[in-house]
């Protein structure tokens, strides 16, 4: 045998350890399990992508400085939550996005566990197509982990990196979703074959006695030397489902709020700090925003501008205008919400007062001197909505400084950061 042939044979032999098929012993692994886990995960991923897009679009990124990512219309806005809809619509879509996202983590971990033998498949490269496929899988796994880790850390207020969360989460989603669609396309024949061989739900009928390993074959998922099963496939899936339900239980209270908030034992906004009218959750305290009493005291004026007209109003003047009451839900992009009773001047009244047109947008500027959302632009439909307010009071009392005293914006269907606190200026203009 020639030297070259000897070297070739040596390279074909897998290195010791996980590269050898005998290393993987679990009798549950196989094409059926992976297909089924994928079938459960896929609709979840589609919902995540859609609710994520809806959230992105609700920032109205085409207007003013609203864009949170470099290219605001990478996927052009097809739809935004109308401000005339109930104010809890964003609470539902974003609540689903965050809660479902966390609930999918156990399922994702199970899926990755079921395919880990493929990471160590030997020989590493069989053909050009196989090599490219492995690169695509690296992209898929890397991007799904980026998406889930950035999302999870964001809702827990932990930012160990320097890059902008919105940018990485949005573009990561584009990468992940396209890799996911490709993966579906590539694996469809394998999934169809697995379901044809074993049935779609039939393996779920097997209790532990009847749990049999799948035959070791081309996919390389089923073990070559399975050990005896210690849990059935349905037992494994029930455990995964149990973990997802546990996440739901400790998380959903912060979306629904009210008396259920306290059940959110592990969620970032599950705690209740008091029962007073201003004791609901906040994002950014007055001191963090460096708001001084000089800026928000008796000397504060609301400046309304349109064209070359300018009107200055004191808080007392605003209080003297016809007030509108609304029970509105405020939702943060981190997936929690709070519903309170707000009272203030409708934005449309302020628009009419300064003589702006019904098609104008308004740039709202906060008194805060720093912060990415100190200027935001509201669309004309958001200004026109009957429940869109410049709120002065909440739950029957004045807003506290942490909640935006002297005045804050409340717009149904807008993400929390667009409900500007400590409003200073409102500048109406045509788009």
């Amino acid at each position: 045998m020639s030297r070259l042939q000897q070297i070739r044979d040596r390279l074909e032999e897998p290195p010791p350890g996980p590269f050898r098929p005998r290393f993987w012993r679990s009798p549950l692994r196989g094409p059926w399990l992976t297909s089924f886990l994928g079938t459960l995960l896929a609709p979840g991923i589609v919902i995540m992508f859609l609710t994520g897009l809806i959230s992105q679009w609700s920032y109205r990124p085409a207007l003013g400085r609203n864009a949170t990512t470099p290219v605001s219309d990478t996927i052009p806005a097809l739809f935004h939550l109308p401000a005339s809809w109930p104010s809890w619509d964003y609470a539902v879509t974003q609540g689903i996005h965050v809660t479902l996202g966390l609930m999918l983590i156990p399922l994702l971990l199970a899926k990755l566990w079921s395919v880990i033998p493929k990471l160590f498949q030997w020989p590493a490269v069989r053909s050009a197509a196989a090599a490219i496929e492995r690169a695509a899988i690296l992209l898929l796994v890397g991007s799904v982990l980026v998406e889930f880790v950035t999302g999870t850390l964001d809702v827990e207020y932990f930012y160990p990196w320097h890059f902008d969360f919105y940018t990485i989460h949005y573009y990561g989603a584009l990468v992940f979703f396209s890799a996911f669609l490709l993966h579906l396309f590539v694996k469809l024949p394998t999934v169809r074959h697995a379901y044809r061989e074993r049935g779609v739900l039939k393996p779920l009928l097997d209790d532990l006695e009847h749990t049999r390993p799948e035959p070791h074959e081309a996919t390389g998922l089923a073990p070559l030397e399975p050990s005896a099963p210690t849990i059935s496939r349905r037992g494994l899936l029930a455990t995964v489902g149990g973990a997802s339900l546990a996440v739901l239980a400790v998380q959903v209270g912060q979306v629904i709020g009210g008396p259920l908030r306290r059940t959110a034992l592990l969620a970032a906004r599950g705690r209740v700090y008091g029962t007073g009218p201003n004791d609901f959750p906040i994002t950014t305290t007055a001191s963090s925003a460096r708001i001084t009493t000089a800026e928000t005291g008796a000397g504060w004026r609301l400046k309304l501008m349109a064209g070359d007209r300018e009107i200055s109003l004191t808080r007392d003047q605003l209080m003297a205008m016809p007030q509108h009451d609304a029970t509105l839900t405020l939702t943060c992009v981190e997936g929690w919400s709070t519903t309170q009773h707000w009272r203030g001047v409708p934005l449309s009244a302020l628009r009419d007062m300064v003589g702006a047109s019904a098609d104008d947008v308004v740039e709202v500027e906060s008194v805060q001197t720093q912060g990415p959302f100190r200027h935001i632009t509201l669309a004309s439909d958001q200004v026109a909505a009957s429940d869109a307010l410049l709120a002065l009071c909440v739950n029957g009392v004045d807003l506290s400084p942490d909640h935006g005293y002297p005045a804050r914006v409340i717009v149904p269907g807008a993400p929390g950061v667009h409900n500007t606190k400590w409003v200073g200026t409102m500048r109406f203009s045509s788009v």
Partner: protein, 170 residues
């Protein structure tokens, strides 16, 4: 040989396979370009690769190793056989659920984001470790209760089965 079959023989799959992959890589390149214009590409790539490696080379060996160890211990107990399997699962299931909750909520439980949390909410990160421990205790108690019921109730006797080998799986 027609061109498509020729292509398949050289490439290993249909032309559509290649086109689809190039599209996906194109989207990735575009996305990286957008992210790059706003941040630190080396750091991003390091995190990206880091997540994948951390999961595959640390997390998976960790929980499969612990599981193997535990099955080995239970397998050596006097009452081996179907009873042993049941006990293993009654410890495994609450342990897995508790472990997943720990993994997901680790930043809050370890309070690493306290500084940022204070900035945004005006409060400290508090009570998460306690809550997680309480939930873990409840999970194990629940599992023990179910195990107790299963052991005590008039059994559907399992037909005699060979004892479980204690060193299986991965």
């Amino acid at each position: 040989m027609n061109p498509i079959r020729h292509f398949r023989a050289r490439y290993g799959a249909s032309p559509l396979h290649l086109v689809g992959h190039l599209l996906a890589f194109g989207v990735a390149a575009f996305a990286l370009d957008q992210i790059f214009s706003g941040g630190d590409i080396e750091q991003l790539l390091a995190w990206y690769i880091g997540f994948a490696l951390l999961h595959d080379l640390v997390l998976i060996p960790l929980y499969t190793g612990v599981d193997r160890l535990f099955r080995g211990i239970v397998g050596r107990l006097p009452a081996s056989g179907p009873g042993a399997i049941r006990l293993v699962n009654h410890v495994r299931v609450p342990a897995l659920i508790s472990g997943v909750l720990l993994l997901i909520y680790l930043p809050l439980i370890t309070r690493v984001g306290n500084h940022t949390f204070r900035f945004y909410s005006g409060h400290n990160v508090e009570g998460y470790l306690r809550n997680w421990l309480l939930i873990t205790a409840a999970l194990f108690l629940g599992s023990a209760a179910v195990y107790g019921v299963r052991v005590v109730r008039p059994a559907h006797r399992h037909p005699p089965v060979k004892p479980v080998s204690g060193d299986g799986g991965g």
